[in-house]
Amino acid sequence: MATESTNTQGKSGSGRVVFFVLIAIAAVLFVLGLVDEYTMDGPNIHPMDQFIVSPLFGDGPIRFYTPTNVTLWMALAVASVAALMVMGTGGRAVIPSRSQSMAELAYGFVRKMVEDVAGKDALPFFPYIFTLFLFILFANFLGLIPMSFTTTSHIAVTAILAAAVFLTVTLVGFIKNGAGFLSLFWVSSAPLALRPVLAVIEIISYFVRPVSHSIRLAGNLMAGHAVLKVFAGFAGAMGMAGIAPILGVVAIYGLEVLVSAIQAYVFTILTCVYLKDALHPHH
């Protein structure tokens, strides 16, 4: 064990360097990808062009069964989650391999979050919440690969995820508590005269939940990627002086890695909070 820990300590410095070099390469690729577009399409670069949904094969109309770039990158996210979990649980070593410790870290992290925020009786919902977390995390991270597509930047994708959470939570609330679930809207700690007013506000805020839940994720990712493209557009237009915007892209790219992880975390923790409200509606 001692050699193991010194080994990782020695590696962490070079690992950090490799991480920053990878981010820098990714940023340069972002700019190069844009320069290619630049020469093909003229100077009209639109930072929102990266979010266009297009069919993978040919260019017919898009129907619900058409394979598009969105479905491709969603399938890749699912495949990478499955690969991580299959590789991580395949060995079952006492001293975990890298993939096993990553899988165990993710599992322990989400399980602790569900237990701490939603309580022990929310653990039957742990598989669902874990799936949500991993899918959103991997979709966000895959979207950071240059020339890829960010599925979670589309409100259509995140709205379905949030609507599923909303329906689950509402159903669970009514199944577990019956009509007692409505006491969620009746704030018993407030003065009696204020309670009807508060009830209206609580009901509005309950139905606004899926809206803010979905748009938070989509908005953060869309805004971040648009900012990346805007800076990359500066670099493409400025020629040799473009080194300054490229440095900016490197910094923003690092920020985007952070935002991807935090937004997956926030989406999951809000799911836990809503679930806690459904299981224990009494204020």
């Binding site: 979050m113 701490d116 925020v117 809206v211 803010s212 748009i215 938070r216 908005g219 805004a223 935090i262 975390y265 926030v266 923790i269 809000l270 909070v273």
Partner: protein
């Protein structure tokens, strides 16, 4: 919605809605700053409260997102 003046109103409205995002930024900074102030007073209690921190940030951010949504609707949907 046709005509230049209507489009101008759209753009002005979207720009005004962007102020809401800045206001949400103030709120998020307030939450994070107060968390840090409290965490430095009692660092041992800080680790258990990071979930609360993120929930607070998420709720403060939600209202900025509605401003962002208004801007998006004005730009692309109206």
């Amino acid at each position: 919605m046709e005509g230049d003046i209507a489009q101008m109103g759209q753009f002005i409205g979207a720009g005004l809605a962007a102020i809401g995002s800045g206001a949400a930024a103030i709120g998020v900074g307030h939450v994070a700053g107060n968390f840090l102030a409290g965490a430095l007073r009692n660092p041992s209690a800080a680790a258990g409260q990071t979930a609360t921190l993120f929930i607070g940030i998420a709720f403060a951010e939600a209202l900025g997102i509605f401003a962002f949504l208004v801007a998006l609707l004005l730009m692309f949907a109206v």
